[in-house]
């Protein structure tokens, strides 16, 4: 198992060829590091003393050559080390993550996500960096050290031994300090972890904190960890710098001895000057590899601590095999389920499931009902192989569930939880999740993914069609990818207008060049099109000279400034106290991040009139007016004279632009597709009016009918399937999430279905629809175990079990159970 691996085993496994190359380079650098010393000696002794210029040039040339070579080699060594380190880190992360994913659910119940995240990101990166240099650094530095030492002995044995004498002292003292450092470091990791958990918890419970004004409590929690960290770090620093001090002290002892003794020997003529210079250089050079070795030692200790801390955290075996040990196709089950004497025990002696026994022939349907907390969900999860069980048996086609691999189970069993998880991706990807993950398996990679027709069929079965249609109709098409579709939609627009134009006129605000559009901002009301160049975008317009000139010509500047000021004044006074919640800014022309700017502007206006506003601020006011959309921004209104002015200006703008730069805008024209608008708005060639809720439904019905007649419905559905659901499916309702989870399940067509209140959030119609599907299409084709809360839904099941406190207390068919007048009867009538 990956968590049992030792730190160095990663080094030995990874990039062996590269590591060998590294080793060779190291040997060469050592040579190039020592070689200049010998040159130094010869420059002094041979060249300078015998006044030989030629020799001076040769030795200096060799000297610089060696230094450059050493530098170049060092560069390559560093790059290689970095590469190897990152490669190891990459492998380490991937393998540990794969291991973490396979850990039992129980592990994640007690493990905060923050812990897993920090382990995999920051905690591991230290060891990763270290491992890259784990072999090269000690080798290179030890060799250098030995070579220098040897060279010094060769120059003068006595001096050499004296200057080495200080090292053993260091070797004795430093590990003691280091051990203390390690202990502190370990504590630091634990405290940091607890602190990130505390922060994580606070953030996920922010509404509770705000609701209860729990700021002091949370601050205090963090403060505890903060001050502990502060203390630990401080002690660690003291330790670290003490090591540094000792190191430096011993190092500076060296030259002291050298000058004293070396000077004495040279004066006495027992050592030549060249040798002394070389000796001093060598001693100085000795310091580098020594220091690097010391750093290496500290890194090693630090990485060990971090690595073991991470590994011990995840040192747990998965409950089930992911894949068969010997590759084989997954079993294809019939779907017979037998449960006997099943116990699920937690915390020593709490029986969540107590002696459960039941049997189900392939294709039969079982409903599990009971009080909340009776163990229904746990039973479903055990049968779905999400939990392992302590005692008893669960047999699928006579095979013990515990012994089946995850591959077998996921191939044959589909499980939907009450609150299914939706990934941050498109609806399509979410629906295909189960099929795609099976397909990633080597043996199943040839099974085709369901085609669009099949997907749409399942989408319809779970009652998701209307939702997806709505998403589809609200999609903006991409000009590069959907040009053909856009053309056809312009055709639909004409047809829609011909058939329904007059009937639905009051529910739609058409893009009518003679009217002010209440659902459109003032900028587009004036330009009556959308810009294709950046300088013509709304945010740029106030600074756009040509546009400002146009406003002057049409005498709109003053009116718009007046409107902008009114908007600023009203909005600032309205939202002054509400800046902490984005919600209140959804209908405001001032976005939250600009609030302070406008607030300051209003403050200044109170002192001076708006005639004296500087240019930047005038532009800001103008921008607000251009953003004004009458149907959204209720705090201001347009006078009818301004409306007329704007419409007159609109025509003039069209004329001017057609002459000066006809491609700068795509104007709202009945024969053009508008890529800045949704499909729906394009078909309507206008906005549905938001204040007619029923009418909007009607309009949509007509549009769908028309699209169907033109065979374009699938295209719109495709666009709808591409809808991005947001983080955790935030942009979906609870019912939509359940429908997606059900679609995910039905697409896989498993032999065994486990539904844990999987339709609880659905509206009545969709619930009935799914019920019907289970009753007819799936009956006999898949074995079904459904945990059901609403008893009126269990009438058609072949078998019903009623659970209480972990036991099955009643079992039978619906009528039978009612006739017994026991708990089931009570439950049915108590509702």
């Amino acid at each position: 198992m990956v968590t049992k691996k030792s730190l160095f085993s990663w080094v030995l496994e990874c990039c062996r060829g590269l590591q060998f190359a590294l080793f060779i380079m190291v040997l060469f650098t050592v040579f190039f590091r020592v070689f200049p010393l010998e040159m130094q000696k010869r420059i002094v002794n041979v060249a300078i003393q015998s006044r030989n210029l030629n020799a001076l040039f040769v030795y200096c040339g060799l000297y610089i050559g060696a230094v450059v070579m050493a530098g170049v080699l060092k560069y390559f060594i560093n790059v290689l080390q970095g590469y190897i380190g990152q490669k190891i880190l990459y492998q380490m992360r991937t393998r540990i993550y794969a291991h973490i994913l396979s850990l039992p659910l129980a592990f994640f119940r007690r493990t905060p996500p923050g812990m897993v995240i920090s382990s995999l990101t920051s905690e591991l990166s230290g060891p990763g960096d270290f491992l890259g240099s784990a072999l090269a650094v000690p080798v290179i530095n030890l060799l250098t050290l030995i070579t220098f030492a040897g060279y010094m002995v060769y120059l003068n044995p006595l001096l050499a031994f004296l200057s080495f004498a200080i090292y053993p002292a260091e070797i004795l003292i430093i590990p003691v300090l280091q051990r203390r450092y390690n202990r502190l470091n370990q504590e630091r990791i634990n405290v940091t972890r607890s602190m990130s958990n505390a922060i994580g918890e606070a953030i996920s419970g922010m509404h509770e904190i705000h609701g209860n004004a729990g700021y002091p409590i949370e601050n205090k929690k963090l403060d505890t960890f903060g001050s502990m960290l502060f203390g630990l770090r401080h002690r660690m620093n003291k330790n670290k710098y003490l090591v540094k001090f000792i190191n430096n002290f011993f190092q500076s002892l060296g030259p002291f001895i050298l000058f004293l003794l070396g000077g004495y020997l040279t004066i006495k003529g027992r050592l030549d000057l060249g040798a002394l210079v070389a000796f001093l250089s060598a001693y100085e050079k000795l310091y580098d590899p020594w220091k690097e070795l010391m750093d290496y030692y500290q890194d090693l200790q630090d990485s060990r601590v971090r690595y073991h801390q991470v590994m011990s955290y995840f040192d747990q075996a998965p409950e089930f095999l992911l894949e068969p040990e010997e590759p084989r196709e997954p079993y294809r089950l019939q779907g017979k389920i037998q449960v006997s004497g099943l116990d699920y025990i937690v915390d020593g002696d709490i029986h969540i499931l107590d002696q459960i026994s039941l049997g189900l022939e392939p294709g039969r349907q079982l409903a599990v009902v009971g009080f909340s907390g009776s163990g229904k969900s746990t039973l479903a999860m055990v049968i779905g192989q999400l939990y392992s069980y302590s005692r008893g048996h669960v047999l699928f086609d006579g095979m013990e569930l515990k012994q089946l691999t995850k591959l077998d189970v996921s191939y044959n069993v589909g499980y939907v939880a009450q609150h299914p998880f939706i990934f941050d991706d498109s609806i399509l990807e979410n629906i295909l999740y189960a099929c795609k993950s099976l397909q990633l398996n080597e043996l199943l990679k040839d099974e085709p993914l369901p085609d669009l027709a099949r997907i749409l069929q399942v989408v319809d079965e779970v009652g998701l069609t209307d939702d997806i249609l709505r998403f589809g109709l609200n999609t903006m098409l991409d000009i590069n990818r959907h040009a053909a579709l856009a053309d056809r939609l312009v055709g639909v627009r004409e047809e829609f207008y011909r058939q329904w134009g007059s009937e639905l006129a009051e529910q739609i605000e058409f893009f009518d060049a003679e009217r002010l559009l209440r659902n459109t901002n003032m900028a587009e009301n004036i330009t009556f099109g959308y810009p294709n160049r950046k300088v013509w975008e709304l945010e740029q317009l106030p600074a756009n000279k040509a546009f400002r000139q146009f406003l002057e010509e049409t005498q709109l500047t003053q009116d718009l400034l007046g409107l902008g000021l009114e908007l600023a004044k009203q909005t600032v006074s309205l939202l002054e106290d509400l800046q902490d919640d984005q919600f209140f800014f959804e209908m405001s022309p001032i976005p939250r991040h600009e609030f302070d700017l406008y607030s300051a502007l209003i403050e200044r206006l109170k002192k001076a009139g708006h005639q004296h506003l500087p240019k930047k601020e005038l532009e800001a006011v103008l921008k607000l007016a251009l953003r004004f959309t009458p149907s959204i921004h209720k705090m201001a209104t347009l006078s009818s004279s301004l409306e007329h002015k704007i419409i007159r200006a609109r025509h003039k703008f069209y004329q001017q632009m057609s002459e000066r730069d006809p491609h700068a805008f795509t104007f709202y024209q009945p024969n053009r597709y508008l890529f800045t608008h949704t499909i729906m708005e394009n078909i309507l060639f206008g906005h549905p009016k938001a204040d007619h809720p029923r009418a909007m439904e009607q309009v949509q019905e007509r549009v769908v009918q028309l699209l169907d007649e033109q065979n374009l419905l699938d295209k719109v559905m495709e666009a709808g399937l591409a809808f991005q659901v947001g983080s955790k499916g935030d942009r979906l309702s609870g019912g939509q999430k359940q429908k997606i989870a059900l679609a995910r399940l039905f697409l896989k067509r498993p032999r065994i279905l486990i539904l844990d209140e999987a339709t609880a959030s659905l509206d009545n119609r969709s619930q009935a629809r799914v019920q019907e599907l289970l009753k007819t299409t799936l009956k006999g084709r898949a074995t079904l175990i459904a945990v059901v809360h609403r008893l009126e839904l269990v009438r058609d099941y072949d078998q019903i079990v009623l659970m209480k406190a972990g036991k099955i207390v009643e079992a039978g068919q619906y009528e039978e159970l009612l006739a017994r007048k026991g708990l089931f009867y009570e439950l049915a009538h108590g509702e």
């Binding site: 609701g211 006129a505 009051e506 009203q570 309205l574 209720k634 060639f685 204040d691 809720p693």
Partner: protein, 172 residues
């Protein structure tokens, strides 16, 4: 492009000469007992978050069993409160301009106990639960007042119902 119809349709948000929608909403809210106790500066925020909705004669504003999340004030026109049964429905009450109804949905996620159907073309001012709750959280001191009024209303309705029950028990 030509407009398909030249004049205003029967149900269009009422024209407010020179007055912005927010101020118009504010005037309406001030006349509704549940909201009239709120200081003007705060009431403006309710007015800001309200939305207008139009229904044509015969359309349901909401239906029994719906999980609708809004409270309504009838601005113009009239509507009927109806309780629906499997084969028939019972007419309970007539709503007129200026009445506040469906407010319980602002307090909790409930299903509608009755339907409301427009008898003429109708314009409503509506407030949704999320907005209502956000304001409750932002200004608790105001929230308490509003809740108080809302609950008094509910108690009144219960009382009416109880009396009816007693009536039925004695004579029915």
């Amino acid at each position: 492009m030509n407009s398909p119809t030249e004049n205003n349709a029967p149900c269009v948000p009422s024209e407010r000469a020179g007055q912005c929608e927010l101020d118009a909403n504010l005037d309406v809210l001030r006349k509704i007992p549940v909201f009239s106790g709120i200081p003007l500066q705060r009431l403006k925020l309710y007015a800001y978050l309200c939305k207008r909705a139009c229904y044509r004669a015969g359309e349901f504003i909401f239906r029994q069993g719906d999980a609708d999340d809004r409270g309504y004030i009838l601005l113009s026109g009239s509507a009927q409160v109806v309780r629906e049964y499997e084969n028939h429905s019972v007419y309970l009450n007539e709503l007129r301009a200026g009445e506040f109804f469906g407010g319980v949905a602002l307090l909790s996620d409930i299903r509608r106990l009755f339907s409301v159907r427009a008898t003429t073309d109708v314009e409503c001012l509506t407030l949704d639960r999320e907005s209502f709750r956000k304001l409750l959280v932002q200004f608790p001191e105001v929230g308490v007042k509003v809740l108080d009024m809302m609950i008094k209303r509910i108690v009144q309705m219960e009382e009416k119902l109880m009396q009816k029950h007693v009536h039925e028990c004695v004579y029915g």
